[in-house]
């Protein structure tokens, strides 16, 4: 007897659909699996056999052949346990075969017959809807993750026995369709992290402007002045995610296996703060079967690199492509993978090795040492950072008076408002933030008057700006205007933007 069903496995952050086939014939009893399978797929034999046995199903001794096609693609992952079990049952006529048409099945089996959650369920189900599959059967533990997927009925099963009863029509399982389709996109109000920071008005303002237009930020300052604290408070002011953004990010997290029943959907913008000992692969993603790295996990959110000069040069240099294009391309033996990586970079560093330059009472670094320390991060990377801000040593008066200038709520409101302005401004284009206004149409969005032009011209000559630097100032000025709720880019906005330049 022959039986087949659909299945899929994760490849990069998309999935590849496959057909799982079983044939039972006479001959020497045995279990054979073919179709370019990796070893975890081959191990399915034992899991399936024992799981079926423990579920009370007995097979006659036959020659069993399993094929997963197309045979030319290497299959990985443990999601094939369940489809293999199902096609076996079908081939032994224990379930009606016609019920398996247009059905995609994924799931890992435990030896006792229960179905366990798998990684990357989101891309698999999203893709199945595209490929014309009408029904997905997935592990029950994964159902919350996929509740936002449209266009396909998704059923969660918790054990082989439930699955058999479902497929034979003895019980009905309701699809998780629409379960929380409107999603809990309502956002939890964060604790007011910025209200806990005393003083540091300039740095917080710079951060606010940066978040408005998704500008990359560099904070420089002596140790212990609150750079990290400011960065850590940023999630509380990040604008809410749209449904689409949320789905895109959840997809990455699903592949990385970072979703579970409690945290089944990413509704908050990610904030990733890898330690500086991170490897290139950890940062960009990689491995034999590439998994997303920190930069992809920070997509639509913040990648915070504390002590930037301490990161290995190689790791920092790999950020060039993602910072420019918003994606990272990883080439491995099995193919080339493209992971999204449109994050906002927030970096922090000390001005020199001891950290106190230019306070000559504490810093004895020679000018060369200072320069060398600053040069650890290459110019091309620094060039991709829009806002440079100085975080100064805390003022005792500020600490004592507990002087708070900004609160997260107020900041978030301003930022939401500024984002709204940007949404309206860029309607019908593929620009999403001020930071990615192409230089070709910069003057359409950042109109400046004569006075502003004069100032810019003077600054251009005086600071020997590059073209890139010049456009950067315009984009940042646009964000400052948005932050200030102004339609027009005023002189003061331009002046402030100039003050955020690199050196």
């Amino acid at each position: 007897m022959f039986c087949k069903c659909f299945s899929a496995f994760v490849d990069g952050i998309t999935s590849i659909s496959v057909t799982v086939e079983a044939d039972i014939g006479n001959g020497m009893p045995g279990f054979e699996m073919v179709g370019l399978l990796s070893c975890e797929v081959k191990e399915a034999e034992e899991r399936v056999r024992i799981a079926l046995k423990n579920s009370g199903i007995k097979f006659p001794p036959k020659h069993i052949t399993i094929n997963i096609s197309p045979a030319s693609i290497r299959k990985v992952g443990t999601a094939f346990d369940l489809p293999i079990a199902v096609v076996l049952l079908g081939a032994f006529n224990l379930i009606p075969i016609n019920n398996l048409e247009n059905t995609l099945i994924v799931g890992e089996l435990s030896l006792d017959g229960t179905v366990k959650a798998i990684k990357g369920i989101l891309p698999i189900t999203i893709n199945s809807a595209v490929n014309g599959v009408s029904r997905c059967i997935i592990p029950a533990d994964n159902t919350r993750e996929v509740s936002v997927v449209e266009g396909v009925d998704i059923y969660g099963v918790d054990s082989i026995n439930t699955l058999i009863e479902f497929l034979t029509g003895r019980i009905s399982v309701s699809p998780c369709y629409g379960m929380n389709r409107d999603m809990d996109m309502q956002h939890t109000i964060e604790e007011d992290s910025f209200a806990q920071i005393a003083g540091q008005e300039e740095a917080i303002r710079a951060v606010g402007v940066g978040v408005c237009g998704m500008h990359n930020i560099m904070m420089t300052g002596p140790p212990g002045c609150g750079k990290t604290m400011i960065a850590k408070a940023i999630p509380s002011i990040m604008p809410n995610m749209t449904m689409k953004e949320s789905l895109d990010v959840s997809r990455i997290y699903s592949v990385a296996g970072l979703l579970n029943t409690d945290n089944y959907h990413i509704t908050k913008r990610p904030f990733r703060a890898p330690h500086h000992s991170i490897t290139t692969v950890g940062m960009t993603g990689g491995g034999a079967n590439p998994k997303p790295g920190e930069i992809s996990l920070a997509s639509k959110g913040v990648l915070f690199l504390d002590e930037l000069p301490e990161f290995s040069v190689k790791v920092i240099e790999t950020l060039r492509q993602p910072l420019e294009e918003g994606i990272i391309q990883i080439s491995r033996l099995n193919g080339t993978y493209r992971f999204p990586a449109d994050f906002m970079l927030i970096a922090a560093r000390n001005p020199c090795k001891c950290g106190y330059y230019p306070d000559r009472n504490r810093c004895n670094c020679s000018e060369n040492e200072v320069r060398r320390y600053m040069r650890r991060v290459s110019r091309p990377i620094l060039d991709r950072i829009d806002i440079y801000t100085w975080v100064s040593q805390m003022d005792f008066q500020d600490i004592k008076n507990n002087r708070h200038i900004y609160s997260s709520l107020e900041l978030k409101e301003r930022i939401e408002n500024a984002r709204q302005r940007q949404l309206e401004r860029f309607k019908g284009t593929d620009i999403s933030y001020n930071s990615n206004i192409p230089s070709a149409c910069i003057y359409d969005y950042c109109k400046i008057d004569k006075k502003g032009e004069d100032l810019l011209e003077k600054a251009f000559k005086k600071y020997k700006l590059t073209m890139r630097g010049y456009y950067k100032i315009l984009r940042v000025a646009r964000s400052i205007a948005d932050f200030e709720d102004c339609n027009k880019v005023e002189l003061s906005h331009i002046a402030e933007a100039i003050s955020y330049r690199m050196d």
Partner: protein, 372 residues
């Protein structure tokens, strides 16, 4: 052989240094006699060991002289390096009067003329922005008054002094602690080349001598020796600049120091000097006065008030400008001091910077441009 050749010959002999050469000169009175004397006579010289005598006798051989003196001089000529021995007319008289004056100087460019007043400006390598701007300003003001500036081409204050002088097309002289063909520290090569053009680069050490730590205190005695007055701009408690000041005192030169805040580590040395009687430098006029006391006539010396000419600024700019001083202040301090909002302060700072009256020394830190 002439005096120059003999000086080169003498200083090239193994085991014979400045001190022993002086012993020899004292005994023989003329350099010629050293070359012409026989072995026996050398035994009479105090401070010369048997081994040294062996070396001297060996060095008198023809092949030694052709290789180490004649060829050497050729090589120097090819590289445009002059050797000025202490018997030459060109050798600065100021230097000759110091104890342990060098037997000869390697020079690229020119040596200072006898009647030009020369001031040494020295100070810390890891100096503050304030120190740098003071040194630069002093040097350029003095240069425009026709005073030569001498320093050690080191990082920090020295560089500021050289570049300040070069800025006003003044004459500036750099005394090296390494061979004349080397630029140490290497990043100063531009100033090094400029010095050769406008003034001169001077060293006691011939080509190929590395910048050894021991050379630098020796170099300092030349700096102070060539100068009429030594101005210490910034120095910590134990600073090489204080060695220069000590040597200047020994040599009977004027020592001046720029005062600083008492709490600053970089002011300690200078303030101590003033406490012990060094002349305090509050403006260029103080240096000029000191030079005039030494018998120089400085034309066109400016009065103190003129040095800081007034600039006209709008009221807001005035407010911010008043707060920015010679010590780098960051935006936050400026905000606190003038009680204005962040955006206004930033805008005004940018405007002032574009007017060239203030300058950003490092990210977020501003200082006044001196001379305004």
């Amino acid at each position: 052989m002439n005096n120059q050749e003999i000086c080169i010959w003498l200083s090239g002999i193994k085991g014979i240094g400045n001190k022993k050469i002086r012993c020899l000169l004292e005994y023989f009175e003329s350099p010629h006699n050293i070359f012409l004397c026989d072995r026996k006579e050398l035994y009479n010289v105090a401070g010369i060991s048997d081994k040294d005598i062996d070396n001297i006798v060996l060095a008198k051989k023809e092949e030694y002289i052709s290789k180490n003196v004649v060829d050497y001089i050729d090589r120097l000529k090819k590289r445009n390096i002059r050797y000025v021995d202490c018997f030459s007319e060109e050798y600065p008289k100021k230097l000759k009067s110091i104890y342990e004056y060098p037997i000869g100087l390697y020079v690229r460019g020119k040596l200072q003329s006898e009647n030009q007043p020369v001031v040494a400006i020295v100070g810390a390598r890891n100096c503050s922005e304030y120190g740098k701007s003071v040194a630069r300003e002093l040097a350029s003001e003095l240069s425009s008054l026709g005073v030569g500036i001498i320093s050690g081409l080191a990082r920090g204050i020295d560089m500021a002094a050289h570049s300040g002088a070069l800025h006003k097309d003044g004459k500036t002289y750099a005394v090296l602690g390494c061979g004349i063909d080397r630029c140490y520290p290497p990043e100063n090569i531009e100033v090094f080349m400029e010095c050769i053009k406008s003034g001169g680069v001077i060293s006691e050490y011939g080509p190929g001598i590395p910048p050894m730590a021991g050379n630098f205190p020796m170099r300092n005695r030349i700096i102070s020796g060539l100068a009429d007055a030594v101005v210490v701009v910034e120095a910590k408690k134990k600073s090489g600049s204080l060695i220069t000041a000590d040597m200047a005192l020994d040599q009977g030169k004027s020592v001046l120091a720029v005062p600083g805040r008492i709490a600053d580590a970089l002011s300690e040395g200078c303030n101590n000097l003033i406490y012990n009687g060094a002349t305090m430098v509050l403006s260029v006029a103080d240096v000029v006065k000191e030079l005039e006391n030494n018998g120089y006539f400085i034309t066109g010396s400016k009065s103190e008030d003129e040095t800081f000419k007034n600039i006209t600024l709008a009221s807001l700019e005035e407010m911010v400008y008043d707060v920015v001083c010679l010590v780098p202040k960051n935006i936050k301090e400026i905000m606190n001091d003038c009680n204005l909002e962040y955006q206004i302060v930033v805008e005004t700072l940018i405007k002032l910077e574009l007017m060239d009256v203030i300058v950003q020394t490092s990210k977020g830190y501003y200082v006044r441009v001196m001379g305004n």
